[in-house]
Symmetry: none
Subunit: 260 residues, 2 copies
């Protein structure tokens, strides 16, 4: 169970007329990875079945707890929001939402105490018209028009993922910057300027400019390092590298003697 | 091919060290449903394999066209943006993006003409640290902390879906790069690796490590420079600085005499 996602208690995944036992197991696994746990089966062709449990991997608990009904109406009787997943909703007169919006609707209702269902049809033929009539709305995963055959578990994975993303968007705690160690914060302006001053000194020491004006190179180098937004620890590391380059330049200079 | 999604031509999905042949087929199917078609395999345990083609269903064309490499570096050599998929990025020092942001980044770069890669590791162990070092950033699918084991094809499905959603939103930040000279494009993987090799040599030459193992510092420095995504000209500038530091170190070494 995923303690961070209590709305999952009021979101059920309903699989209607599933033909291949393995797909039920894969769907359970997909659900559980996203923190969903309420699986309802409507007239599965074969259940329970060893292949279902094999493909569920560590999600066998969802199969053990799964409810089985004979008809979709029974499976969603207590639901205030039922959304059916369909490849094309045009032939039916249903509002059709993209996955993020459908997930937000499910989550919102679930968070307010309403029972909700996300319904998936048969592998080959989907939901029939009578079943779609039981849905408040449809959700369609945008797919390649030339090849739109997501398998059942893949469709469950995508929509369960969107439900989880909706939950994270809603519930994500605002990162408290006060708790972040200072070394992990982006280096301050002053720290960056200290680094750039040492970089400029180092370029002089290693004779990088060779008579050219230093401004152009420093300009470009500042851009690279500012873009990286290093943290304080990384700036210290970079300055350590510069210090050693400066030390080598001093040694080399001593070799050439005081006249140079 | 999905005519509505031309950026797909510059987004490759790279599967590293895949253990189960069936997963390659399922991943190909997941890609094709979302309009992605460029599959690259790095050291797959078994390929080609009948099970791979069986599970690909109608996506066998992606398998026929798949490139196979021995190492990740070769698979992404021409890429300006490489994002690795990882279950937890905390142990590594990489910027970590949620899937929508990672997808927007890939799409934006691809739309502007840059070759991009989305990299998936082995089923059990993911990407190793050396492979993660080749990535500019990481993407993590937010999963149930108590059960985070998305299978490989499920992870490909979710991220390919997000790339498609980004394309449909068309909200990817597209740097106007059509007329941009190659020097202003992000440095390729190979150019970055050339720079890092010279950086490592330079750290040795200036005796930066002083007996410590070099890996930790290089790790952190790679992160800073990959995050900056320097262009080709900036990489040449940085290498010029390194060359002068190396020259100074040689001079200093000569001063200390051949015995040192």
């Amino acid at each position: 169970m995923d303690e961070t996602f209590p709305a999952a208690n009021r979101i059920r995944i309903v699989l209607v007329g599933t033909q291949h036992p393995g797909n039920i197991g894969s769907a359970a696994r997909a659900m559980k990875t996203m923190g969903l746990h309420r699986l309802v089966l409507v007239a599965p062709e074969r259940f329970p079945h060893p292949e279902t449990f094999a493909l569920a991997a560590g999600a066998g608990d969802l199969l053990d707890a799964a409810q089985v009904h004979g008809a979709l109406g029974d499976a969603v009787a207590d639901c205030g929001l039922v959304i059916g997943c369909t490849a094309r909703a045009r032939r039916i007169a249903l509002d059709e939402f993209p996955p993020p919006e459908a997930a937000s609707k499910l989550l919102g209702e679930a968070m307010s105490g309403i029972e909700t269902a996300l319904v998936f049809g048969r592998e080959r033929t989907g939901l029939d018209n009578v079943e779609l009539q039981l849905c408040h709305a449809a959700v369609t995963i945008p797919a390649n028009p030339a090849y739109s055959s997501l398998n059942l578990a893949a469709a469950v994975q995508v929509l369960a993922y969107e439900v989880r993303m909706a939950a994270l968007r809603n519930d994500a705690p605002v990162p408290a910057r006060a708790d972040v160690p200072p070394d992990d914060l982006p280096a301050s302006h002053a720290e960056m300027e200290g680094f750039f001053a040492q970089l400029a000194d180092t370029l002089d020491a290693i004779d990088f400019h060779k008579g050219r004006t230093p401004e152009a190179a420093m300009h470009k180098l500042r851009r690279v390092f500012l873009r990286a937004t290093p943290d304080a620890r990384e700036v210290r590391l970079l300055r350590g590298v510069l210090a050693d380059a400066q030390r080598m330049a001093r040694l080399a200079g001593e070799r050439q003697g005081p006249a140079s």
